[in-house]
Homo-oligomer: 211 residues x 2
DNA sequence: TATATTAGACCGACAGTCTGTCGGTTAAAA
DNA sequence: TTTTAACCGACAGACTGTCGGTCTAATATA
Protein backbone atom coordinates (compact mmCIF):
# COMPACT_ATOMS: atom_id res chain seq x y z
CA UNK A 1 0.00 0.00 0.00
CA UNK A 2 3.01 2.22 0.32
CA UNK A 3 4.68 3.48 -2.83
CA UNK A 4 8.20 4.74 -2.65
CA UNK A 5 9.56 7.05 -5.30
CA UNK A 6 12.65 9.08 -6.02
CA UNK A 7 12.63 12.41 -4.26
CA UNK A 8 12.69 14.38 -7.51
CA UNK A 9 9.70 12.49 -8.86
CA UNK A 10 7.63 13.01 -5.73
CA UNK A 11 8.56 16.64 -5.59
CA UNK A 12 7.30 17.09 -9.10
CA UNK A 13 4.09 15.22 -8.33
CA UNK A 14 3.53 17.55 -5.42
CA UNK A 15 4.30 20.60 -7.52
CA UNK A 16 1.93 19.43 -10.26
CA UNK A 17 -0.89 19.07 -7.76
CA UNK A 18 -0.06 22.32 -6.02
CA UNK A 19 0.10 24.22 -9.28
CA UNK A 20 -3.32 23.11 -10.34
CA UNK A 21 -4.84 23.80 -6.93
CA UNK A 22 -3.15 27.13 -6.36
CA UNK A 23 -4.19 28.28 -9.78
CA UNK A 24 -7.80 27.14 -9.60
CA UNK A 25 -8.62 27.72 -5.93
CA UNK A 26 -6.00 30.27 -5.04
CA UNK A 27 -3.01 29.92 -2.76
CA UNK A 28 -4.66 30.95 0.49
CA UNK A 29 -7.70 28.78 -0.02
CA UNK A 30 -5.70 25.72 -0.89
CA UNK A 31 -4.87 23.76 2.24
CA UNK A 32 -1.94 21.43 2.49
CA UNK A 33 -4.62 18.81 3.09
CA UNK A 34 -5.96 19.43 -0.40
CA UNK A 35 -2.54 18.76 -1.84
CA UNK A 36 -2.15 15.64 0.27
CA UNK A 37 -5.42 14.23 -1.02
CA UNK A 38 -4.65 15.06 -4.61
CA UNK A 39 -1.23 13.46 -4.59
CA UNK A 40 -2.32 10.63 -2.31
CA UNK A 41 0.42 10.94 0.27
CA UNK A 42 0.55 11.56 3.99
CA UNK A 43 1.25 14.77 5.83
CA UNK A 44 4.71 13.75 6.83
CA UNK A 45 5.71 13.03 3.27
CA UNK A 46 4.82 16.50 2.12
CA UNK A 47 6.91 18.04 4.85
CA UNK A 48 9.71 15.61 4.14
CA UNK A 49 10.07 17.14 0.67
CA UNK A 50 9.15 20.75 1.37
CA UNK A 51 9.76 22.71 4.48
CA UNK A 52 6.55 24.73 4.34
CA UNK A 53 3.56 25.58 2.22
CA UNK A 54 5.27 28.73 1.06
CA UNK A 55 8.28 26.68 0.09
CA UNK A 56 6.03 24.77 -2.30
CA UNK A 57 4.83 28.03 -3.79
CA UNK A 58 8.38 29.23 -4.32
CA UNK A 59 9.42 26.00 -6.01
CA UNK A 60 6.36 26.10 -8.23
CA UNK A 61 7.07 29.67 -9.33
CA UNK A 62 10.67 28.76 -9.98
CA UNK A 63 9.55 25.94 -12.25
CA UNK A 64 7.07 28.09 -14.16
CA UNK A 65 9.45 30.98 -14.44
CA UNK A 66 12.25 28.80 -15.76
CA UNK A 67 10.10 27.38 -18.52
CA UNK A 68 8.89 30.83 -19.51
CA UNK A 69 12.41 32.16 -19.71
CA UNK A 70 13.42 29.34 -22.03
CA UNK A 71 10.83 30.54 -24.52
CA UNK A 72 11.61 34.21 -24.09
CA UNK A 73 15.32 33.66 -24.49
CA UNK A 74 14.77 31.63 -27.63
CA UNK A 75 12.78 34.46 -29.17
CA UNK A 76 15.36 37.00 -28.12
CA UNK A 77 18.19 35.01 -29.66
CA UNK A 78 16.54 34.54 -33.04
CA UNK A 79 18.83 36.77 -35.06
CA UNK A 80 16.82 36.20 -38.21
CA UNK A 81 14.31 38.72 -36.89
CA UNK A 82 14.75 42.41 -36.40
CA UNK A 83 15.40 43.74 -32.93
CA UNK A 84 11.92 45.16 -32.71
CA UNK A 85 10.34 41.87 -33.71
CA UNK A 86 12.43 40.04 -31.16
CA UNK A 87 11.37 42.44 -28.44
CA UNK A 88 7.73 41.99 -29.25
CA UNK A 89 7.92 38.22 -29.50
CA UNK A 90 9.92 37.68 -26.34
CA UNK A 91 7.72 39.96 -24.27
CA UNK A 92 4.58 38.43 -25.72
CA UNK A 93 5.78 34.92 -25.07
CA UNK A 94 5.33 35.72 -21.39
CA UNK A 95 1.79 36.93 -21.72
CA UNK A 96 0.16 34.59 -24.14
CA UNK A 97 1.19 30.99 -23.89
CA UNK A 98 0.94 30.74 -20.17
CA UNK A 99 2.48 27.51 -18.93
CA UNK A 100 -0.77 26.52 -17.31
CA UNK A 101 -4.04 26.96 -19.08
CA UNK A 102 -5.29 30.26 -20.32
CA UNK A 103 -8.15 31.93 -18.63
CA UNK A 104 -7.07 30.24 -15.43
CA UNK A 105 -4.60 33.03 -15.02
CA UNK A 106 -7.48 35.26 -14.05
CA UNK A 107 -7.47 33.51 -10.71
CA UNK A 108 -3.88 34.48 -10.14
CA UNK A 109 -4.82 38.11 -10.04
CA UNK A 110 -7.52 37.94 -7.43
CA UNK A 111 -6.60 39.82 -4.28
CA UNK A 112 -6.51 36.57 -2.36
CA UNK A 113 -3.53 35.43 -4.36
CA UNK A 114 -1.51 38.52 -3.69
CA UNK A 115 1.45 36.53 -2.44
CA UNK A 116 1.57 34.27 -5.46
CA UNK A 117 0.99 37.16 -7.79
CA UNK A 118 3.69 39.37 -6.37
CA UNK A 119 6.20 36.55 -6.21
CA UNK A 120 5.57 35.62 -9.83
CA UNK A 121 5.78 39.23 -10.85
CA UNK A 122 9.02 39.87 -9.04
CA UNK A 123 10.57 36.71 -10.37
CA UNK A 124 9.47 37.53 -13.88
CA UNK A 125 10.67 41.08 -13.84
CA UNK A 126 14.03 40.11 -12.42
CA UNK A 127 14.69 37.74 -15.29
CA UNK A 128 13.03 39.48 -18.21
CA UNK A 129 14.34 42.99 -17.71
CA UNK A 130 18.00 42.10 -18.32
CA UNK A 131 16.99 40.14 -21.38
CA UNK A 132 15.03 43.03 -22.81
CA UNK A 133 17.73 45.49 -21.80
CA UNK A 134 20.16 43.58 -24.00
CA UNK A 135 17.83 43.87 -26.97
CA UNK A 136 17.37 47.56 -26.36
CA UNK A 137 21.12 48.09 -26.28
CA UNK A 138 21.38 46.29 -29.56
CA UNK A 139 18.72 48.57 -30.97
CA UNK A 140 20.64 51.59 -29.78
CA UNK A 141 23.78 50.33 -31.50
CA UNK A 142 21.83 49.84 -34.68
CA UNK A 143 20.58 53.37 -34.42
CA UNK A 144 16.88 52.50 -34.33
CA UNK A 145 16.58 53.39 -30.64
CA UNK A 146 18.02 56.31 -28.76
CA UNK A 147 18.23 56.23 -25.00
CA UNK A 148 21.01 56.71 -22.48
CA UNK A 149 19.33 54.26 -20.10
CA UNK A 150 18.59 50.96 -21.91
CA UNK A 151 18.19 49.04 -18.67
CA UNK A 152 15.76 51.41 -17.02
CA UNK A 153 13.87 51.84 -20.25
CA UNK A 154 13.39 48.08 -20.34
CA UNK A 155 12.43 48.04 -16.69
CA UNK A 156 9.80 50.71 -17.04
CA UNK A 157 8.27 49.01 -20.06
CA UNK A 158 8.12 45.59 -18.46
CA UNK A 159 6.84 46.81 -15.11
CA UNK A 160 4.08 48.80 -16.68
CA UNK A 161 3.06 46.10 -19.12
CA UNK A 162 2.91 43.69 -16.24
CA UNK A 163 0.46 46.01 -14.52
CA UNK A 164 -1.58 47.22 -17.45
CA UNK A 165 -2.23 43.88 -19.03
CA UNK A 166 -3.12 42.16 -15.83
CA UNK A 167 -6.47 40.47 -16.01
CA UNK A 168 -7.40 42.22 -12.80
CA UNK A 169 -7.76 45.55 -14.52
CA UNK A 170 -11.31 45.32 -15.70
CA UNK A 171 -11.35 47.59 -18.67
CA UNK A 172 -13.73 47.60 -21.55
CA UNK A 173 -12.64 46.40 -24.95
CA UNK A 174 -12.37 49.99 -26.08
CA UNK A 175 -10.34 51.11 -23.08
CA UNK A 176 -8.03 48.20 -23.68
CA UNK A 177 -7.48 49.21 -27.30
CA UNK A 178 -6.68 52.79 -26.40
CA UNK A 179 -4.50 51.47 -23.62
CA UNK A 180 -2.50 49.38 -26.04
CA UNK A 181 -2.08 52.26 -28.44
CA UNK A 182 -0.98 54.48 -25.60
CA UNK A 183 1.42 51.80 -24.40
CA UNK A 184 3.00 51.51 -27.83
CA UNK A 185 3.25 55.25 -28.07
CA UNK A 186 4.90 55.59 -24.67
CA UNK A 187 7.21 52.70 -25.40
CA UNK A 188 8.40 54.38 -28.56
CA UNK A 189 9.06 57.54 -26.62
CA UNK A 190 11.00 55.78 -23.90
CA UNK A 191 13.10 53.85 -26.38
CA UNK A 192 13.62 56.95 -28.45
CA UNK A 193 12.29 55.06 -31.43
CA UNK A 194 10.84 56.69 -34.48
CA UNK A 195 7.12 57.33 -34.17
CA UNK A 196 5.20 54.39 -35.56
CA UNK A 197 8.19 52.09 -35.79
CA UNK A 198 6.70 49.78 -33.21
CA UNK A 199 3.12 49.95 -34.41
CA UNK A 200 3.73 48.16 -37.66
CA UNK A 201 5.48 45.02 -36.32
CA UNK A 202 3.05 44.96 -33.42
CA UNK A 203 0.05 44.78 -35.69
CA UNK A 204 1.68 42.05 -37.72
CA UNK A 205 2.23 40.04 -34.59
CA UNK A 206 -1.34 40.34 -33.47
CA UNK A 207 -2.84 39.55 -36.85
CA UNK A 208 -0.83 36.38 -37.30
CA UNK A 209 -1.47 35.01 -33.83
CA UNK A 210 -5.13 34.31 -33.10
CA UNK A 211 -5.61 36.28 -29.91
CA UNK B 1 -15.15 46.62 34.20
CA UNK B 2 -16.93 46.96 30.94
CA UNK B 3 -16.53 50.16 28.94
CA UNK B 4 -19.02 51.01 26.27
CA UNK B 5 -18.14 53.43 23.51
CA UNK B 6 -19.66 54.78 20.35
CA UNK B 7 -19.17 52.45 17.41
CA UNK B 8 -17.12 54.97 15.46
CA UNK B 9 -14.77 55.50 18.36
CA UNK B 10 -14.21 51.79 18.92
CA UNK B 11 -13.71 51.21 15.24
CA UNK B 12 -10.98 53.80 15.21
CA UNK B 13 -9.35 52.34 18.29
CA UNK B 14 -9.28 48.99 16.56
CA UNK B 15 -7.91 50.51 13.38
CA UNK B 16 -5.21 52.35 15.32
CA UNK B 17 -4.07 49.13 16.95
CA UNK B 18 -4.32 47.15 13.74
CA UNK B 19 -2.38 49.74 11.80
CA UNK B 20 0.51 49.66 14.21
CA UNK B 21 0.56 45.89 14.38
CA UNK B 22 0.13 45.26 10.66
CA UNK B 23 2.87 47.72 9.92
CA UNK B 24 5.36 46.47 12.49
CA UNK B 25 4.69 42.73 12.46
CA UNK B 26 3.07 42.33 9.09
CA UNK B 27 -0.50 41.46 8.25
CA UNK B 28 -0.17 37.70 8.16
CA UNK B 29 1.78 37.50 11.38
CA UNK B 30 -0.60 39.70 13.27
CA UNK B 31 -3.34 37.61 14.83
CA UNK B 32 -6.72 38.97 15.71
CA UNK B 33 -5.73 38.03 19.25
CA UNK B 34 -2.89 40.54 19.09
CA UNK B 35 -5.34 43.25 18.18
CA UNK B 36 -7.70 42.17 20.95
CA UNK B 37 -4.97 42.43 23.55
CA UNK B 38 -3.76 45.77 22.30
CA UNK B 39 -7.18 47.38 22.31
CA UNK B 40 -8.28 45.54 25.43
CA UNK B 41 -11.54 44.17 24.13
CA UNK B 42 -13.00 40.72 23.68
CA UNK B 43 -13.19 38.63 20.55
CA UNK B 44 -16.85 39.22 20.08
CA UNK B 45 -16.43 42.97 20.15
CA UNK B 46 -13.96 42.92 17.33
CA UNK B 47 -16.29 40.89 15.18
CA UNK B 48 -19.18 43.09 16.17
CA UNK B 49 -17.47 46.02 14.47
CA UNK B 50 -15.67 44.26 11.62
CA UNK B 51 -16.79 41.23 9.73
CA UNK B 52 -13.35 39.72 9.24
CA UNK B 53 -9.65 40.34 9.61
CA UNK B 54 -9.42 41.35 5.99
CA UNK B 55 -12.25 43.79 6.54
CA UNK B 56 -10.06 45.51 9.11
CA UNK B 57 -7.24 45.70 6.60
CA UNK B 58 -9.51 47.24 3.98
CA UNK B 59 -10.82 49.84 6.39
CA UNK B 60 -7.32 50.70 7.49
CA UNK B 61 -6.12 51.16 3.92
CA UNK B 62 -9.15 53.29 3.18
CA UNK B 63 -8.29 55.53 6.11
CA UNK B 64 -4.62 55.88 5.14
CA UNK B 65 -5.41 56.39 1.51
CA UNK B 66 -7.96 59.08 2.23
CA UNK B 67 -5.53 61.08 4.33
CA UNK B 68 -2.84 60.78 1.68
CA UNK B 69 -5.16 61.99 -1.01
CA UNK B 70 -6.05 65.06 1.00
CA UNK B 71 -2.41 66.10 0.95
CA UNK B 72 -1.86 65.20 -2.69
CA UNK B 73 -4.96 67.08 -3.80
CA UNK B 74 -3.91 70.13 -1.84
CA UNK B 75 -0.54 70.16 -3.60
CA UNK B 76 -2.16 69.63 -6.97
CA UNK B 77 -4.57 72.51 -6.43
CA UNK B 78 -1.95 75.04 -5.42
CA UNK B 79 -2.13 77.23 -8.49
CA UNK B 80 0.66 79.44 -7.24
CA UNK B 81 3.10 76.78 -8.38
CA UNK B 82 3.91 75.72 -11.88
CA UNK B 83 2.37 72.52 -13.24
CA UNK B 84 5.67 70.73 -13.02
CA UNK B 85 6.17 71.74 -9.42
CA UNK B 86 2.67 70.62 -8.57
CA UNK B 87 3.26 67.26 -10.17
CA UNK B 88 6.45 66.73 -8.23
CA UNK B 89 5.01 67.83 -4.93
CA UNK B 90 1.80 65.85 -5.17
CA UNK B 91 3.58 62.67 -6.22
CA UNK B 92 6.21 63.13 -3.55
CA UNK B 93 3.64 63.75 -0.87
CA UNK B 94 2.73 60.09 -1.26
CA UNK B 95 6.24 58.82 -0.87
CA UNK B 96 7.76 60.89 1.86
CA UNK B 97 5.46 61.84 4.65
CA UNK B 98 3.96 58.46 5.10
CA UNK B 99 0.98 58.63 7.42
CA UNK B 100 2.63 56.17 9.76
CA UNK B 101 6.22 56.50 10.70
CA UNK B 102 8.98 56.41 8.16
CA UNK B 103 11.26 53.46 7.96
CA UNK B 104 8.38 51.34 9.14
CA UNK B 105 7.20 51.28 5.58
CA UNK B 106 9.98 48.84 4.84
CA UNK B 107 7.92 46.23 6.56
CA UNK B 108 5.05 46.82 4.19
CA UNK B 109 7.10 45.60 1.31
CA UNK B 110 8.19 42.28 2.71
CA UNK B 111 6.77 39.37 0.74
CA UNK B 112 4.68 38.39 3.74
CA UNK B 113 2.64 41.53 3.43
CA UNK B 114 1.81 41.00 -0.18
CA UNK B 115 -1.89 41.39 0.42
CA UNK B 116 -1.53 44.66 2.27
CA UNK B 117 1.00 45.91 -0.20
CA UNK B 118 -1.02 45.15 -3.28
CA UNK B 119 -4.19 46.54 -1.80
CA UNK B 120 -2.49 49.78 -0.85
CA UNK B 121 -0.88 50.01 -4.24
CA UNK B 122 -4.09 49.44 -6.13
CA UNK B 123 -5.97 51.91 -3.99
CA UNK B 124 -3.25 54.48 -4.39
CA UNK B 125 -2.93 54.11 -8.11
CA UNK B 126 -6.67 54.30 -8.62
CA UNK B 127 -6.87 57.63 -6.87
CA UNK B 128 -3.59 59.27 -7.84
CA UNK B 129 -3.58 58.56 -11.55
CA UNK B 130 -6.67 60.67 -12.33
CA UNK B 131 -5.24 63.46 -10.24
CA UNK B 132 -1.94 63.41 -12.08
CA UNK B 133 -3.68 62.98 -15.41
CA UNK B 134 -5.44 66.28 -14.78
CA UNK B 135 -2.15 68.03 -14.18
CA UNK B 136 -0.65 66.51 -17.29
CA UNK B 137 -3.58 67.74 -19.38
CA UNK B 138 -3.05 71.18 -17.96
CA UNK B 139 0.59 70.98 -18.95
CA UNK B 140 -0.37 69.96 -22.46
CA UNK B 141 -2.69 72.95 -22.73
CA UNK B 142 0.11 75.21 -21.55
CA UNK B 143 2.35 73.75 -24.22
CA UNK B 144 5.02 72.48 -21.84
CA UNK B 145 4.02 68.84 -22.38
CA UNK B 146 3.11 67.07 -25.55
CA UNK B 147 1.30 63.77 -25.45
CA UNK B 148 -1.90 62.42 -26.98
CA UNK B 149 -2.44 60.18 -23.94
CA UNK B 150 -2.30 62.22 -20.71
CA UNK B 151 -4.08 59.57 -18.69
CA UNK B 152 -1.90 56.66 -19.74
CA UNK B 153 1.20 58.78 -19.42
CA UNK B 154 0.23 59.48 -15.84
CA UNK B 155 -0.56 55.83 -15.24
CA UNK B 156 2.75 54.61 -16.55
CA UNK B 157 4.68 57.13 -14.48
CA UNK B 158 2.85 56.35 -11.26
CA UNK B 159 2.91 52.59 -11.68
CA UNK B 160 6.59 52.55 -12.37
CA UNK B 161 7.48 54.95 -9.59
CA UNK B 162 5.48 52.80 -7.23
CA UNK B 163 7.62 49.85 -8.21
CA UNK B 164 11.00 51.48 -8.56
CA UNK B 165 10.99 53.37 -5.31
CA UNK B 166 9.70 50.51 -3.28
CA UNK B 167 11.91 49.81 -0.33
CA UNK B 168 11.95 46.19 -1.37
CA UNK B 169 14.22 46.89 -4.30
CA UNK B 170 17.56 46.69 -2.61
CA UNK B 171 19.71 48.86 -4.75
CA UNK B 172 22.91 50.58 -3.85
CA UNK B 173 23.01 54.31 -3.36
CA UNK B 174 24.62 54.67 -6.76
CA UNK B 175 22.08 52.47 -8.53
CA UNK B 176 19.35 54.50 -6.90
CA UNK B 177 20.81 57.75 -8.18
CA UNK B 178 21.10 56.48 -11.73
CA UNK B 179 17.63 55.06 -11.37
CA UNK B 180 16.23 58.43 -10.41
CA UNK B 181 17.99 60.15 -13.28
CA UNK B 182 16.69 57.53 -15.67
CA UNK B 183 13.21 57.89 -14.21
CA UNK B 184 13.26 61.64 -14.76
CA UNK B 185 14.56 61.16 -18.26
CA UNK B 186 11.89 58.63 -19.14
CA UNK B 187 9.21 60.76 -17.54
CA UNK B 188 10.23 63.71 -19.68
CA UNK B 189 10.01 61.53 -22.75
CA UNK B 190 6.60 60.17 -21.89
CA UNK B 191 5.21 63.61 -21.14
CA UNK B 192 6.83 65.01 -24.25
CA UNK B 193 8.50 67.60 -22.06
CA UNK B 194 11.63 69.45 -23.04
CA UNK B 195 14.79 67.66 -22.00
CA UNK B 196 15.86 68.82 -18.56
CA UNK B 197 12.64 70.64 -17.81
CA UNK B 198 11.90 68.24 -14.97
CA UNK B 199 15.42 67.95 -13.64
CA UNK B 200 15.65 71.50 -12.41
CA UNK B 201 12.47 71.64 -10.27
CA UNK B 202 13.20 68.10 -9.07
CA UNK B 203 16.58 69.11 -7.71
CA UNK B 204 15.08 72.13 -6.03
CA UNK B 205 12.55 69.95 -4.33
CA UNK B 206 15.14 67.55 -3.00
CA UNK B 207 17.51 70.22 -1.80
CA UNK B 208 14.89 72.09 0.18
CA UNK B 209 13.38 69.02 1.84
CA UNK B 210 15.84 67.16 4.06
CA UNK B 211 15.57 63.67 2.61
C1' DT C 1 21.93 -17.49 -3.42
C1' DA C 2 20.24 -16.20 1.05
C1' DT C 3 20.36 -12.97 4.79
C1' DA C 4 21.57 -8.75 7.42
C1' DT C 5 22.13 -3.82 7.36
C1' DT C 6 21.27 0.76 6.22
C1' DA C 7 19.39 4.99 4.53
C1' DG C 8 16.10 7.36 2.29
C1' DA C 9 11.12 7.72 1.70
C1' DC C 10 6.98 7.59 3.98
C1' DC C 11 3.20 7.55 7.60
C1' DG C 12 -0.43 9.58 10.70
C1' DA C 13 -1.40 11.08 15.30
C1' DC C 14 -0.99 15.24 17.61
C1' DA C 15 0.19 19.84 19.51
C1' DG C 16 -0.52 24.41 18.90
C1' DT C 17 -2.54 28.34 16.70
C1' DC C 18 -5.87 30.91 14.50
C1' DT C 19 -10.44 32.72 12.72
C1' DG C 20 -15.10 33.47 13.08
C1' DT C 21 -19.69 32.37 15.65
C1' DC C 22 -23.24 32.55 19.00
C1' DG C 23 -26.02 32.83 23.05
C1' DG C 24 -26.02 35.54 26.60
C1' DT C 25 -24.84 39.96 29.39
C1' DT C 26 -24.50 44.91 30.55
C1' DA C 27 -24.77 49.95 30.25
C1' DA C 28 -27.15 53.76 28.98
C1' DA C 29 -30.75 55.97 26.40
C1' DA C 30 -35.75 56.25 25.81
C1' DT D 1 -38.88 50.12 33.15
C1' DT D 2 -37.85 48.79 28.69
C1' DT D 3 -35.20 48.64 24.80
C1' DT D 4 -31.16 48.55 22.09
C1' DA D 5 -26.53 49.00 20.89
C1' DA D 6 -22.16 47.50 22.52
C1' DC D 7 -19.79 43.96 24.54
C1' DC D 8 -18.19 39.32 26.37
C1' DG D 9 -15.77 34.73 26.20
C1' DA D 10 -16.41 29.87 25.46
C1' DC D 11 -16.19 27.10 21.64
C1' DA D 12 -16.33 24.81 17.01
C1' DG D 13 -13.77 24.00 13.13
C1' DA D 14 -9.82 24.29 10.31
C1' DC D 15 -5.17 24.50 9.32
C1' DT D 16 0.07 24.12 9.60
C1' DG D 17 4.07 21.98 10.91
C1' DT D 18 6.39 18.23 13.98
C1' DC D 19 7.98 13.88 15.52
C1' DG D 20 8.70 9.15 16.61
C1' DG D 21 8.33 5.40 14.31
C1' DT D 22 7.71 2.23 10.02
C1' DC D 23 8.59 0.38 5.54
C1' DT D 24 11.15 -0.60 1.17
C1' DA D 25 14.75 -1.42 -1.69
C1' DA D 26 19.44 -1.22 -2.47
C1' DT D 27 23.81 -2.74 -0.80
C1' DA D 28 26.85 -5.40 1.99
C1' DT D 29 27.93 -9.78 3.95
C1' DA D 30 28.12 -14.70 4.48
Amino acid sequence: MRTVKEAEERKNEILDAAEELFVTKGYDKTSTGDILDKVGIARGTLYYHFKSKEDILDAMIERISASMMVRAKAEAANTELSVIERIIRSVMSLKLQSPIGDEILQQVHKPQNALMHSKMQKNMIDSVVPLLAGLVEEGVKQGIFDTPYPFYAAEMIIVYSEFAFDEEQDRTQEELMTGIQAFIHNTEKILGAESGSLTQPMMMFFSQSDR
